[in-house]
């Protein structure tokens, strides 16, 4: 036989068992294509009766990588394409942590904060490093920065200086420039937002609010124990009211909720609160499970299991639909770079000058070992370690040195292992999509084909 059914597919149950035309949804994780398929056709695929499909259908199934060449080692082919995909990103991506300081003392945070802010020397070296990366990667089309911390706004002057200079470098070379920021939102006053949004091209501000005031103020408190919910929400409301708020993008603010067993029951209440403030068309929202960050074991101690979170996530997504939030697409896409760690053109620079391949490493005692650090900007480049452990993720997968489960998982092309550092740490944790992909396929189908609100 020349062809085989790809092992990288997900298939739902028959959608309506009482119907004459029995249909399922099939999802190829190699191509990201989802399709309605009649059960009779799916049965032919399963038994390898490809000639019975007809040339037209056969050709389309091959295009969508539902059927592949029989001889192909699919896992190795996916890894090969991943590496090509990473090379093809045509961007230099920097995560810059201008300070090691943060006002907050969240119990689950793995960082150890200090008052160190980024010196002028380190800033100069970052600019030199950017030029080095651009010279090395001549086909770059985009320079992208993610401002992260500690709390990045506590290093505001470094942000302004670096942003001005990096935009100038990008402009001189005819490259596009863009930026995101991950902030606790405490200092994000409307004037600061305006400056960063309009003049420093930061088009996405991720702000964490751990559901309602009662719960947020138990965990996202200042180091002195002061509550922060009211201040952050006031900032968000004032920013969303600005005339130019949606001038560049539809949803400049993304609200992240860290959810565990203590606050999961309040997610819908918080969604209601956002609706009551008139913000449902202004902000995007997402839910994330509390994990073990750094040396903290918050995920083990009070996290939800993957299955619990996955089931709740479907309910929350449906609830948001019901409340009229705009959600167009919830399926995972074919992903070539698992995350920044596999891309040499993607580095993290912290306030001390350390260069790391992952933004979870800086200021975190668990990751102080040399194997996690590329080098320090203030030292000679000859001392840099370009083969830090996580950078070898795809090579280690190819030789089954790490995470043997991944090669057998039908979701690998859209997940690529989720979080490489967790696998290297022996902390095996698949993303929640593994536990709710079939529900997501059905939910997306209903979102596309109906007004879901009327069905609930």
């Amino acid at each position: 036989m020349i062809f085989k059914l790809s092992k990288y597919i997900v298939v739902t149950d028959v959608l309506d068992p009482n119907s004459e035309k029995q249909q399922r949804i099939i999802f190829s994780t190699r191509s990201g294509i989802s399709a309605l398929i009649e059960d009779a056709v799916y049965q032919k695929l399963q038994v390898g009766d490809f000639t019975g499909l007809g040339n037209n259908v056969l050709s389309r199934f091959m295009d969508y990588e539902i059927i592949v060449n029989n001889e192909e080692d699919e896992f190795q082919e996916i890894l090969k394409l991943n590496k090509l995909g990473v090379k093809d990103t045509k961007s230099v991506s920097m995560t810059i942590q201008p300070t090691a300081n943060c006002q907050l003392g969240c119990f689950y945070c793995g960082q150890v904060h200090s008052k160190q802010t980024m010196s002028a020397d380190v800033q100069e070296k970052i600019l030199q490093r950017l030029i080095y990366q651009l010279d090395r990667q001549r086909d770059t089309e985009l320079v992208h920065t993610t401002w992260y911390g500690g709390e990045p706004l506590m290093g505001y002057s470094a942000i302004i200086n670096l942003s001005n200079r990096m935009q100038e470098i990008a402009r001189d070379r005819g490259l596009a420039y863009g930026a995101y920021m991950i902030t606790n939102g405490l200092s994000l006053k409307k004037d600061i937002f305006t400056e960063l949004y309009l003049h420093h091209k930061i088009t996405r501000f991720q702000i964490t609010i751990d559901t309602v005031k009662e719960h947020h103020d138990k965990r996202r408190i200042t180091k002195k124990g002061e509550s922060t919910f009211d201040i952050i929400m006031k900032n968000i409301v004032e920013i969303c009211a600005l005339e130019h708020y949606q001038a560049r993008v539809k949803h400049p603010i993304f609200i992240r909720m860290n959810v565990d067993e203590s606050n999961y029951q309040h997610v819908t209440e918080f969604i209601d609160y956002i609706v009551s403030l008139g913000l449902k068309d202004k902000v995007e929202m997402g839910f994330f499970p509390i994990s073990n960050w750094g040396d903290k074991n918050a995920g083990d101690e009070q996290g939800l299991t993957t299955n619990e979170f996955a089931e709740l996530e479907i309910e929350w997504l449906m609830y948001m639909q019901e409340q009229g939030f705009t959600m167009e697409y919830i399926l995972p896409l074919r992903n070539y770079d698992v995350c920044m760690v596999v891309n040499e053109a993607s580095e993290v620079y912290d306030a001390t000058g350390n260069i790391t391949p992952c933004y979870e490493f800086p200021y975190t005692p668990k990751y102080e070992d040399k194997k996690y650090i590329i080098g320090n900007l203030l030292e000679d480049e000859s001392t840099y370690n370009n083969k830090t452990q996580v950078r070898g993720w795809y090579d280690d997968l190819a030789t089954c040195n790490v995470s043997p489960k991944c090669s057998k998982c039908n979701l690998f092309p859209v997940c690529n292992g989720g979080c490489p550092k967790d696998w290297y740490n022996g902390e095996v944790k698949c993303p929640t999509v593994k536990a709710n992909i079939e529900d997501k396929l059905v939910l997306q189908y209903l979102m596309d084909k109906s007004s879901l609100k009327t069905l609930m």
Partner: protein, 69 residues
């Protein structure tokens, strides 16, 4: 399917839907979204042996030496 609410919504949708067969027994639902991460537009640039693209449309060079239809 695990979600009971989703199951009920699907049932309600199925009951209300006027059923039609699928052309070729198959209907793609997300061509635009899937194409966005696959090097370009699948509809305008289809490799003929299931291979991927090495250059984006409009060049549409397929890898493994294959052609595009």
């Amino acid at each position: 399917m695990k979600s009971k609410r989703l199951k009920m919504a699907l049932q309600k949708f199925s009951e209300a839907r006027i059923e039609g067969g699928l052309e070729d027994g198959f209907e793609v639902m997300n061509l635009d979204e899937a194409s966005s991460t696959r090097g370009g537009n699948l509809a305008g640039c289809t490799c003929n042996n299931g291979s991927n693209y090495t250059t984006k449309p409009p060049d549409c060079t397929c890898n493994n030496g294959s052609n595009y239809a």
